[in-house]
Symmetry: C3
Subunit: 214 residues, 3 copies
C-alpha cells in the first residue's frame, strides 16, 4: 500500500526485543507493586508486553493481532515474565532495571508501531501518534490494572520521547533511508531522551492555575 | 448500506464540537484531579475527546478510526486541551464549566455515535446503545486513568440522557426526518435532561438491599 | 475456514447462560462494592456480561461484535442485571452466589471463546488464550471500573481453570469429538478447578523475593 515497507525481519526482531523488555518490567512491577503470585506476574508481564502491539493492531485494523497469529510473541512474552519470577531474588537489590526495561520497551515499540502503521496505509501524523500509542499502551494497561495513575500522564518525559522516536522513524521511511541504522537511531533517540528525563527528573511545564496553588 | 445516511458535513461539525468540549473537560479534569503537567493534560484531554469515537469505530468495524484518517479530530482535540492549559488561571473560579462541557460532549456524541452506527448497518437498538457508548466512552476512560469510579456508574442521570438523545436521533433517521434540526433537537434533549440531573441532583432508584443498610 | 465448527445453537445457549451468570454477578458486585443505583447496576452488569465476548470479537476481527448484531445477548444481560436489582434483598444473606456466578460465567465463556476463535481460523494456542481472555475479560473490566485489582491477577486459580477449560474444548474440536457432552465437560472441568481454588484457598507459588520479605 505504501511505497516503503519496513523489512519484516528487522521489524520482528525489534518488536520481540521490546516485548521481552516489557514482559520483564511488567512482571517485576506486579511483584513490587502488588505482590502477585506466579500467575499474576505472568499475566501482568504478558499484558504489559503485548498490550501496546495489540492496541496498535486493533486501531490499524490488522485483526487478529500479530500476537495471536505469530507464536514468537506469546513465547517471548511468557519467557520474559518467567525470568522475572525465577530471578526475582537476584534482581532484588536493583531498582534501576525496571525503569531501564520500560525505557527500552518504549524505544523499540515507538519505532515498530510507527513503521507498521505506515505500512498499513496511515498518514505520517497518525503513524507517529500510533507509534507512541504502541509504546505507552502496554505500560498504561499495566498501571491501570495495579491501580496507579499511568506514567504517561504523570511523567513529563514519557510520551515525548516516544513521539520523538516515532517521528524520526516516520521521517526516515518517508525519505527512503529507513533501515537497520535508522531504526536503531530512532530507538536510541527515544531511549536517551527518556533516560535524561529519569536522571534529571525533568518535567514538562505545569499550568499557571496549579502553580499558584502551591 | 442503510437507506438513510446522516449528511457528512453535519455529522463532522457536531463530532468536532463534541471533541472540543470533551478535550477542554478532560484537560481541566487532569489538572484538578491529578495536577497533571502540560503533557498529561494534553494526553488526558485527547483521550477524553477521542476515546468515545475510537471505541465506537472499533465496535462497528470502521478501522482505522475516523480520528486517525481525518486530521481535524486530532487538531481540534489537541487545541481544546491546550486552551485548557493556557487559560487554566482564568477558568479557575468556575467549577461549572467542567460539568457543562462534559454534558455538551455527551449530547453531541450520543447523536453522532448513533447515526454513524446506523450508517454502518447496525440495527436500531444496537445503534442507540452504541450512541451512548460513544457519548460515555471517553469520559469513562478519563475517569479510569485518574482513578475515579466512572460517572456513568455513579450518576443516575448520565447514561440515561445519552440513551434518550441517541434514541431520538435513531427514530428521526428511521422516519426520514433526520437533518440539522433533528440532530440539534436530539442533542438538546440529552443536554437538558443531563442538566436537570446535575441541577436537582436527581438519582435513579437504589436497590432495597442498599437502602436497608443505611 | 476451519474443518470443525461448533454447532451454533450449542454455542449460543452456553454463551447466553454465561451472559446471565456474569450479568447477575456484575450487578451484585456493583451494589456491594460501590452501592450503585439501578442504572449503575445495569451498566456494570451488562459490561461484565458482555465485555469478555466483545473483547474476543474485536481480537478475532468479528466486527461488529455478536452482542450488537444479535439481540438476545443484550436482552439476557439486561435481564440478569435487573433480577439482581429486584432480588437484592433476598440475595443479601448469601455471599457465595457472587463467586459461584462468576465461576459459572468463567467456565462457559472459556469454552465458547475458544471454539469461536477456532472457527475464525486461529491456531490452537491462540484459541486457548482467547478462550481465557473471553472468560476473564468481563470480570477484569468490572474490577477496573469499581477500582479493585482484577481477580485474574490476584487469585492463583482464576486464569488457570479458564485455560484448562479452553484447552479441553480446543482438543475436543481438533480431535473431532466436540459436541454437547465435550462442551459441558470442558466447562465442568473449569468450574471444579475454580471451586477447589475458592474452597481450599489454593494459590500459585510466589516469587522468592516476595517470600523473603515476610
Amino acid at each position: 500500500m505504501m511505497t516503503v515497507m519496513a523489512e519484516p525481519p528487522l521489524l520482528l526482531a525489534l518488536d520481540l526485543a521490546g516485548t521481552v523488555a516489557f514482559a520483564l518490567n511488567g512482571a517485576m512491577t506486579g511483584l513490587k507493586a502488588a505482590k502477585l503470585d506466579i500467575v499474576g506476574m505472568l499475566t501482568l508481564g504478558m499484558v504489559t508486553a503485548l498490550g501496546g502491539g495489540i492496541l496498535r493492531d486493533i486501531l490499524i485494523g490488522a485483526l487478529p493481532p500479530a500476537t495471536f497469529s505469530s507464536w514468537p510473541y506469546l513465547a517471548v512474552a511468557a519467557g520474559g515474565a518467567l525470568i522475572a519470577f525465577f530471578l526475582s531474588r537476584q534482581l532484588r537489590p536493583y531498582t534501576l532495571p525496571i525503569e531501564l526495561l520500560d525505557a527500552a520497551g518504549l524505544s523499540l515499540f515507538c519505532v515498530t508501531g510507527a513503521t507498521k502503521s505506515l505500512a498499513f496505509g496511515l498518514g505520517a501524523v497518525p503513524a507517529v501518534i500510533l507509534g507512541a500509542v504502541t509504546a505507552v499502551g502496554g505500560g498504561t494497561i499495566r498501571d491501570v490494572l495495579v491501580r496507579r495513575v499511568p506514567t504517561v500522564l504523570t511523567s513529563g518525559l514519557y510520551a515525548i520521547p516516544a513521539l520523538i522516536g516515532a517521528a524520526i522513524a516516520v521521517t526516515t521511511v518517508r525519505t527512503g533511508v529507513y533501515g537497520v541504522a535508522a531504526a536503531l537511531g530512532a530507538a536510541a533517540a527515544c531511549f536517551l531522551v527518556r533516560l535524561a528525563g529519569l536522571r534529571y527528573n525533568l518535567n514538562a511545564p505545569v499550568a499557571p492555575e496549579a502553580r499558584t496553588k502551591e
